[in-house]
Structure formats: C-alpha cells, structure tokens
Symmetry: C2
Subunit: 419 residues, 2 copies
C-alpha cells in the first residue's frame, strides 16, 4: 500500500469511529475510562516491559539524561497515569451542552449545543504519558485520536494505546477511536497532514522545530505555540518578598518548560531595593544572569551584559535576562515587542497598575502576583491538557476538554418560512 | 515598493491600529458607529457617484444581470446600509466580557475574558454592502479589518471604506483600522496571505473557486464554507402542508445562495401523498426536478432522472434533486455522505425522529420544521454576518461578533508559587 493510501485509510477509519463516539452517552464514557484506568493498574508489568525496550534502545543512542527521565516509566508513574484517567472520567461531559438558548421575534427557537470536533491528530515527543492524557481527553470529548509519538517512546506508546483499544473493543467501540501510528515512516505524517477532509485538528507538542514543520506543512488547522518567552514585571509598588519568591519559582522550578520565564523586568523606582535580593536568590539556585547596563551597575559584575538577542531568546535553561524599565508602559511595550503572548506576570499592590497590565498585555495568560508556572491545564482545573495555544483562533492558553469541542445550531420552528 | 513589502506594511499598520482598537471603550465604539451611519446618510450623492463608475465599467464588460443587481446601489440601499451600522452600534460589546470565573483550591482566582482577534482580512466578491457590514462588525469587536473586494465594485468599496476612515480620524482612531486594498494587483492577496505573524484570520466570501484558492494559499487560519448542499427531509409524520411551504421557500425564495436546498429527501411512507403536491408547487415556481426512479414513478415524466452526481451538486439555481428513502436512518446517511455540513432540515411531528435527526446530522445548523433559509447571521439575531463556517474550528455556522473574539486568562494570586 502507498503511504498516501495508508494515511487516507487511517484517517477514514478514525472518522468513521468518530461518528459513533459523538453519540456515546456520558455514562458509557465514564465506564470506559474507569475501565482503562483499571486495566492500566493491572498491566504494570506489561507496560514496564514495553518501556524497557524503549529505554534500552535509548541507552544505545546515548540520549541526554533529561530525555531519559522523561521517557522512563516506573510503577508510581503508571499509577499516576491511571489516576489521571480516572480524573478525566469524572469531569463534566463537554458534549451536548446547551451553551445558549434564545427565541427570535418570529418565534423561531434557537439553541447552540456543543459537539465533538471529529478527528484529532496529535504529534508529540518523548513522554509516553502524553498518549494517555490525549487519548482520555479525546474519548471524554467524543473525538477520535491519532497518536504520533516520538520514535524513542514507540513501544511505550503502543502499549498505552493498546490498553485503550482493548477496553474500547470490550465496550463495542471501534479500535480506530485511538490509533497509534508507526514512527518509522516520516512520510506518513506529511500524508496525514494533507487529510483535511477527514482530520479536523492537529496539535503538535514538542520543540519549536517540530511545530514549525507541522504548521508549514499542514492543510489541517493547527493549534500550537512556538515558544514561551514569559516575563515577570516587578512594579514600583510590589511586595518585594513576594516578588523574590515568584521570580525564583517562575525561573528555577522547572526551567525547561514553556511557562518558565526568560526575562525579568523591574521598575526603576524599586530596582535598587529589589534586584540585589532577587539576584542573590537566583544565583543561589545556580542561575546565570544577563542584564542591561543599569542592572549591572546595581548588582555588579556577576551579571553579564544582555544583548538585544537575549530579549528574544527562550533559554529553556537556568539563564535569566534582566532589564530595568522607567515605567509600566515601557514594561508593557517590552512584552509586546519581545514576548510570545504565552504568559506574563505583574507583581504589584497597585490596583490601577494591575488593571493596566491585565488589559494591555495581550498574552494568553496574564498573572497577577502569581508565578507564570501556573499557566497549565491541570493548574487551571481542566483535568489534563491537550496543548497550549498562543494563537487567537479556536482555543487560547491551556487547552482542555472545551477546546476539543465545536457546536451546532438547532433551530426549531412551526413551519417557519423566510419572507 | 515591492508587493511583498507593501503587504507587510498594510498588515503592520493594521496590527498597530488593532492594539488601539482593543482598548476602545464601549461608549466610544457606539459613538463612532453612529457617526459612520450619519455620515453615510449625508454622503448619498458621493456614494452613488462612486457606484455609478463601477456600474458603467460593468456595462462595458457585459456583466450578467444578477451581478448588476448585486453591484448597484440606490438611495434606499444606502439608507439600509446606514441602518445596519446603527444596528451593530447598539449590540452588546463583545469585548471585555468575563465568560467564566472560578477559584482553585489553592486560592488562585481565574477569569476568562474576551479580547479581539487582532487583524481580519476579508476577501469578497461584488456586493459593496459587505464592506460596510464587515467594517462595522470589526470596529464593534475591536479588530482592524483589511477589505479586499471584487474589482467590479472597486470605487464603491473605496467610497464606503473612505467614510469609515474619515469618521475614525475625527475620533482619533487610525485610518489603518479599516483599509480597502487595491484590486488591480492579484499578487498582493498572495502576499497578504503570507503575513501570519500580523494577520490573525482570513474570511473569504464568494464562489467555491475563490475560497479554495484562498484556503490552499493561506498561512493564516481561514474561516470558510466551500458550498452549501442543504437538504430538507420530509419524515413520515410530517405536516404535509408545512412541508410544501418549507420546501418551496428553501428552494425558490433565493436559489443562488448557500442556504437554499439542493436535494429533497422524502420518507417512503408519505412519498405517495407528499410528492405530487410538493412537485406541482415547485413546477409552478419554474423549478426543474430530477428524481430517483421511485420519485419518477410517483410524479411522472416531468421529473428527469437524477444521477449520483446530482446528489453532490450545488445547483445555485431553480433545480432540485429528489430521493425517496426507506427510513430516517437512510436520510441521515444520505446527508452525511453527500451534504456539506451547512444546513439541513427535518419536517416532522414525531419527537423521537426529530431528536434523532438533530443529534445525528452533523451540520452547522439543523432546522426543525423551518426553512433552511433562516441559517443566517441576521436571522439568528447576530446583527450582521462576517461569514458562514462549515468547519468545526473556532466559529461554526453564521459568524457574527462573537466569532471575531478570542479570550485571555487572567489569574490573580497572593504571591502564589507552584510547588
């Protein structure tokens, strides 16, 4: 079979399964997901064996330690994965929800009711638990999913998808509702990205390179964020103790993720008091600092000079650039110019400054006196996360079940005709 | 200047204007739109003169009469256009609306608040009032708009955009909030479609050819519908008098538009009673009929044979294909297979049949005992319409102000950091 034919068949099977999933009653979806969680708990050995094959291949290829950590499963990670499925199971059903209901002067009664999107293609790297997160969210929202994980996690992903499929079959749902795609054939992804009549949405999760390739190739709408250049702005009326805690957390708790900050902006009026405390705390955490001239005058030579390029860089590492700004407007301008519209925070006690920041910073999440690290589907209470969007179309910010729905209008008349 | 540089500048200016529009208070937007309406009423002569130039050029090019009618302005059409602007002015402001508000167990307070999309590019054919509809909806929703109308309406569109621009300037809003683009340079559209960093959404309105070209070229998300293959299904328990009225209205009131029907499906149990009445009424309206063998046995030779191709055809004319189906499931299958997910109607008195149809027909609008012709932003009460979407991403069905918004999350803490 040609790759293009294979892509068509995969997508067509997914679409056929989707029309059944769209009609599944809530109770049945809960039962299926609970059964998946139970099956996972009973399949620990099987999953560990599959994962071991991936880990052994990875060892041969000298993967970096961080990648190893993301790839490896153990019993407690599998238990956590099963619990996450149980958590998704009991979330409110996002499908069939009447979002609005109104009556027109002519007596027509309108309703807007949520429906599934149809078929979701998710393309991701390394972490095998992404398979399960996405599969559970898609089932709950009545969508078919095609999982295309990284090749380093191939056996792990296949084992997880296999658990979903065997439970689906037991409940009379087609296995095509959750298909894991071979990772050896790169051309298959390109062919899948052409199936815009069958696949409704693509979500690439991974590095900027992967996302750019998918976005440029795809004929299907893509939900994405290229990078997270997030900021904390310490306003002149900030609680400085809070500011230190928030900056440390936002930079150092997990520097490799998209909602960690890359640049700290400090109001000139408090720079002299704030920066020494912030910088020494950052240095204690092993964080490299790069600052503008004024920052270096205040903090000293442990801060290396920041270039224009630094303001545009997502370090994904323990490096922070620092700039002193003369007022909040300059901070907002900096964020507009260099930010990625992902997540930006203000630390301030001044209600008017907060209001201005919140209104004028055009990012998917704006934090007030809280760490940017909270920008996350789980932290927002969405149960799990399909991805994060910095675009403004369809879904923005952390995307949970609601982002996996569309709607239809139902219009009821009594023989109404248009004049 | 190169075309690519020109496209960049147009889009960049639109984006700069958008950041101001996003902050405009509701009261100011109302004032501006009312002023636009007033200015239109005072510019009837100016607008008619501009339109006359287009009409005269069109005469030279022998445009078909239907095109003439769409292109021509007269005083009452201009008055209607001005009234439509006044109507949009007083719609509720779609921006800054808190859609949700919740508190997490850790005390973080979240809000989801609507924001404008940014810059909208609209590409349309002939009717000059589309310029004004789109410009008013975009101002009301805080978006910049780039209008690219058909070349046959060039002077009319420029006059309308000029009225918006001069009112904007009077109110201190940049003219770049509403730009009408020259239509002589085809390459400019291609270059605009590459500005995905500056333009947030493209809406092509016109024939299928235009829409397919835009969708295949664009790097920017597109809201679209390729065609409207809409159906009426007459169920076995239909009120037959209603059925006749609805079919006539849905087919003949304005056959050239996307929410007119192309195919009539009739339940076998009522075909013998329903079809003769329906068909004679259609023939009285001058409608050509094409049917399956059973339809022809019932109605006679005035119905020509329908081929497989007919089920897939959007006639946009007074032609209707007719098929008799053995049950509601076959009707639903037909609509799934041949329909365009635009608008489909059931005529029935049976609550269970209605429920089944409404749930299983996966179209953007599903009508119950009402004509498909109601599938329209004005008829739904949206004030005006930016377009109709048969995709499931972002906006579906008739798209009004709400489809021109996105949202952001605002998260308020008290020094919250993530553990």
């Amino acid at each position: 079979m040609t790759t293009s034919k294979l892509a068509f068949l995969l997508a067509k099977r997914a679409q056929d399964a989707a029309s059944v999933l769209a009609q599944l009653p809530s109770v049945k979806k809960i039962k299926i997901l609970r059964d998946v969680a139970r099956r996972m708990r009973g399949s620990v050995k099987f999953m560990l064996a599959a994962n071991r094959r991936d880990v052994e291949t990875a060892k041969k290829h000298d993967l970096p330690p961080a990648m190893f950590d993301r790839l490896s499963l153990n019993e407690s990670r599998i238990q956590a994965m099963a619990k996450a499925v149980d958590d998704v199971a009991v979330l409110p059903d996002p499908i069939g929800v009447c979002q609005k209901r109104w009556t027109r002067p002519n007596g027509l009664k309108l309703e807007r009711v949520t429906v599934p999107l149809g078929v979701i293609l998710i393309i991701f790297e390394s972490r095998p638990n992404v398979s399960s997160e996405c599969a559970s969210l898609c089932l709950k929202s009545g969508n078919s999913v095609i999982l295309r994980g990284g090749k380093e996690a191939f056996h792990s992903n296949r084992a997880i998808a296999g658990i979903y499929q065997s439970v689906y079959e037991k409940h009379g749902v087609s296995k095509a509702a959750c298909q894991a795609v071979s990772t050896t054939d790169r051309k298959l992804v390109s062919e899948l990205l052409k199936q815009d009549d069958l696949i409704n949405l693509v979500i690439p999760r991974g590095g900027e390179g992967l996302i750019r390739t998918v976005a440029s190739e795809s004929r299907i709408p893509v939900i994405k964020h290229y990078k997270g250049i997030c900021h904390v702005f310490i306003d002149k009326n900030a609680d400085l103790e809070q500011a230190v805690q928030i900056v440390i957390n936002a930079k150092c708790q997990r520097p490799s993720v998209c909602n960690a900050i890359e640049t700290l902006l400090v109001h000139r009026a408090v720079a002299g008091r704030a920066l020494p405390a912030v910088c020494s705390a950052l240095e204690e955490e092993g964080c490299e600092l790069r600052g503008d001239a004024e920052t270096r005058r205040i903090v000293g030579k442990s801060v290396s000079p920041a270039s224009e390029e630094d303001w545009r860089t997502e370090y994904l590492d323990k490096i922070l650039s620092i700039r002193i700004v003369k007022d909040i407007d300059t901070a907002i301008d900096h964020i507009r110019k260099y930010g990625s519209a992902h997540t930006d925070a203000i630390v301030s006690k001044d209600v008017r400054a907060i209001q201005k920041f919140v209104q004028q910073v055009d990012s998917s999440s704006v934090m007030v006196n809280a760490s940017t690290r909270f920008s996350d589907g789980n932290e927002y209470g969405f149960g799990a996360e399909m991805g994060i969007s910095t675009d403004k179309i369809h879904a923005r910010g952390p995307m949970g079940l609601e982002g996996l729905t569309s709607y239809k209008y139902i219009v009821r008349g009594k023989g109404h005709i248009r004049k």
